[in-house]
């Protein structure tokens, strides 16, 4: 038998077919495509989450690699800690102040900017309003620390000009949190502005035109036509802003007040950061992380459960 024929026979053997079969099945399987993404998620998200959950029951030192079983002590300790209560209450205040601001103001600005006829002026406004979003907090803080200075700061010069007493913007326990709110808003609202501008630009022109022909004025068109049509973007902005406020505010808190004076401007994530990376109590920090994850998961579920029904996806 010629050699090439022998090879062909071998290639068609049941053994070869058997060997090929799982590969072929795997090749046709969706796991081949989803595998890398799933592996990355398992390795970098689910395993660390599981490890964090496990760590929350121990006292663990990063350097000595020793772990002592503490059971639910870290959870009990955290839930009884007045600083945690304060951080939780402050987080609520930050959300109450920043959610409407970071969604409402960019939405109003987007409606205004989309109507600017002059393209150059529109681009200038968009750039100016988005610019703070690309600055890092440490850079922005240098400017804000000067503005907030209670003795030589610009803000107190302004308040003085209208006859108000000078304020201690960052060191007054009643004001520090609101100063952080102001800086975070200034720094972060630009992203939502871009999202709303993009959504408004995609509203079908013929629908708006039809409404206009039917006699709908600018307000009616904005409220009854454009707003419902951009509701998916609005819903997306609300959900992500909630998470961004929790997350991004840590940068502002750290550079402006370090959570002070006496924790009055701290929030949940900063509380976690202090436990983990300032005091090196990793077990306690892990318990705080689990509690925060539970709170975020609960609120996000509520947002989807109650908010998504008002969203028009078509």
């Amino acid at each position: 038998m010629p050699l090439n024929m022998a090879w062909r026979r071998l290639g068609e053997s049941p053994w070869r077919r058997l060997r090929e079969s799982p590969w072929r099945r795997l090749r046709e399987s969706p796991w081949l495509f989803a595998g890398p993404a799933v592996a990355a998620a398992v390795l970098f998200v689910w395993l660390p989450m599981a490890a964090t959950f496990g760590l929350s029951f121990f006292d663990w030192s990063l350097l000595r690699q020793e772990a002592t079983w503490r059971g639910l002590d870290h959870y009990r300790g955290t839930l009884a800690n007045p600083d945690f209560h304060l951080a939780l209450a402050n987080t609520g205040l930050y959300l109450l102040a920043l959610l409407p601001l970071q969604v409402g103001v960019p939405l109003a600005l987007a409606f205004a900017l989309i109507r600017i006829a002059a393209k150059a002026a529109g681009r200038l406004y968009r750039t100016a309003l988005f610019a703070p979003s690309v600055l890092s907090f440490p850079v922005a803080a240098v400017v804000w620390l000067w503005l907030f200075n209670p003795t030589v700061g610009f803000l107190n010069t302004l308040t003085g000009a209208v006859g108000l007493p000078p304020q201690r913007w960052l060191s007054d326990p009643d004001l520090a949190l609101w100063s952080v709110v102001a800086v975070t808003f200034w720094k972060s609202f630009g992203l939502n502005l871009l999202i709303f501008l993009a959504a408004l630009a995609n509203v079908p022109g013929d629908v708006v035109e039809a409404a206009r022909i039917d006699g709908a004025g600018p307000w009616r068109r904005a409220l009854d036509i454009e707003l419902p049509l951009i509701s998916p973007a609005l819903f997306f902005a609300v959900v992500t802003t909630f998470i961004v406020v929790l997350d991004e505010i840590v940068g502002a808190v750290d550079v402006l007040t370090e959570g002070g004076p006496y924790r009055t401007s701290s929030n949940l994530l900063y509380f976690l950061y202090e436990r983990g990376f300032r005091r090196f109590q990793f077990g306690e920090a892990a318990a705080v992380a689990v509690l925060i994850a539970a709170i975020i998961a609960g609120v996000t579920w509520a947002q989807f459960h109650f908010g998504e029904r008002r969203v028009h996806y078509d």
Partner: protein
């Protein structure tokens, strides 16, 4: 005879000439022991950069690499901890006095006697004044070179001081003398009279000068004793008298440098930076004590600790510390504003006489926060001091709550 250079010769020579600057220093460095020095000092012109360069230029076979990992002791400690856990810890690190206990028990700062031997350790520390040698020892174990010492002093805006009609050379010995002067300055100039740092360090000076302690020799929290209460009441007095508008330390420095504050109490170690930034005549005066009590001022700063467990790097660190302690090295280092704590005969730098006089009359160490939760105890203490300063709680109540919270953390 033709002197023309062939193309091949020219190409070879040119390539060698171009490659040499890139290759030769690397080759030289490759044979050196390389040690990272982690610190918190900013700026290319900071004396630490000059000190490192002067040492490296000596060609001892050790190359020190400057690594600024933050601007506070806590920040560089956090990063060092992560680096040590990853097996890439610093060989040397400037470690705050207050973090000494943590550095030894948690970070693993090395015992000098074990890594250098008793004789070499003694020889190194003998270059420092006897009073400062114990400051970098934890439980009797020397873990650091006590090279950076500062003490709280008054920074006086001499332009405002004289404008207010005050004696240009007046040095208030007690806060009871200082506060009326500050009141006069504020009345006459319309500027803020005084500003204190709100932290754990300056209040410690007040507590000690009233006869109390923050933590006693047995490691027990005693910051609510009658003497300590008297000290903190003297500390917050200018706040009640509207002579002191409370602000953060960066805000205080910016305002003082802009000429908006008459007198600021801060670390003598800030002197170089403040002096470079101000446009008015600046005078430093000793920190006043409290009437009727002996002066008992505290010190602060950092020590140089060895964290490397590699013998070669430990020996390299020793060579660097020998240079730092020498007259040549310390003359460079004193440009920071830190005090000359060595036995080297170096003239007092201009403008620093007050801090030296304060050191000569004796300084105590900065409070070292004991236990595995010492860093947390420090933060809690600062929080209670801040509450007291802001009037959220009375001095006795605040210090009592402070002591109770600290006791729990020390015992944990």
């Amino acid at each position: 005879m033709s002197r023309a250079v062939s193309r091949r010769t020219f190409t070879l020579a040119a390539s060698t000439a171009l490659a040499a600057p890139a290759i030769l220093p690397r080759a030289a460095l490759a044979s050196d022991t390389r040690i990272d020095l982690v610190h918190l000092f900013s700026g290319a012109e900071h004396p630490i950069q000059k000190l490192i360069k002067a040492f490296n230029d000596k060609g001892t076979g050790v190359t020190v690499v400057s690594r600024q990992d933050g601007t506070t002791y806590e920040t560089i400690t956090q990063k060092a901890m992560s680096a040590i856990a990853a097996g890439r810890g610093p060989a040397l690190m400037t470690t705050g006095w207050k973090l000494g206990d943590f550095a030894k028990k948690t970070l693993g700062a090395q015992d000098f006697r074990q890594i250098f031997g008793p004789e070499r350790t003694e020889a190194l520390l003998a270059k420092f004044r006897p009073a400062v040698r114990p400051l970098a020892s934890i439980g009797g174990v020397p873990i650091g070179l006590p090279w950076s010492m500062s003490t709280p002093v008054l920074y006086i805006n001499q332009a405002l001081w004289t404008q207010a009609g005050l004696d240009p050379r007046a040095e208030p010995k007690t806060v009871e003398e200082l506060y009326p002067m500050v009141h006069q300055l504020q009345e006459k100039t319309g500027k803020q009279g005084l500003c204190y740092e709100v932290n754990e360090w300056l209040p410690q000076a007040f507590i000690q000068n009233a006869g109390g302690n923050v933590i006693d020799a047995d490691g027990k929290a005693v910051m609510d004793s009658a003497a300590a209460v008297r000290g903190i009441e003297a500390f917050v007095q200018p706040r009640h008298d509207n002579l002191w508008r409370v602000m953060t330390i960066p805000e205080m420095l910016a305002a003082f440098q802009a000429g908006a504050i008459g007198v600021m109490a801060s670390s003598s170690g800030r002197q170089t930076g403040v002096r470079q930034a101000v446009k008015f005549d600046l005078r430093l005066a000793q920190m006043p004590g409290l009437a009727g009590h002996p002066r008992r001022m505290n010190s602060g700063g950092n020590f140089l600790a060895v964290y490397s467990k590699i013998k070669e790097q430990q020996d390299g660190a020793y060579k660097f510390m020998e240079f730092v302690s020498s007259k040549q090295g310390f003359e460079i280092w004193l440009a920071t504003g830190y005090l000359n704590v060595t036995v080297n005969d170096i003239p007092v730098p201009p403008g620093n006489a007050a801090a030296y006089a304060q050191m000569d009359s004796g300084l105590t160490s900065e409070t070292i926060w004991p236990g595995a939760r010492g860093l947390e105890a420090l933060t809690v203490h600062i929080d209670w001091i801040t509450k007291i300063v802001n009037g959220a709680v009375s001095v006795p109540e605040g210090l009592r709550a402070d002591r109770q919270a600290i006791e729990k953390l020390i015992a944990a």
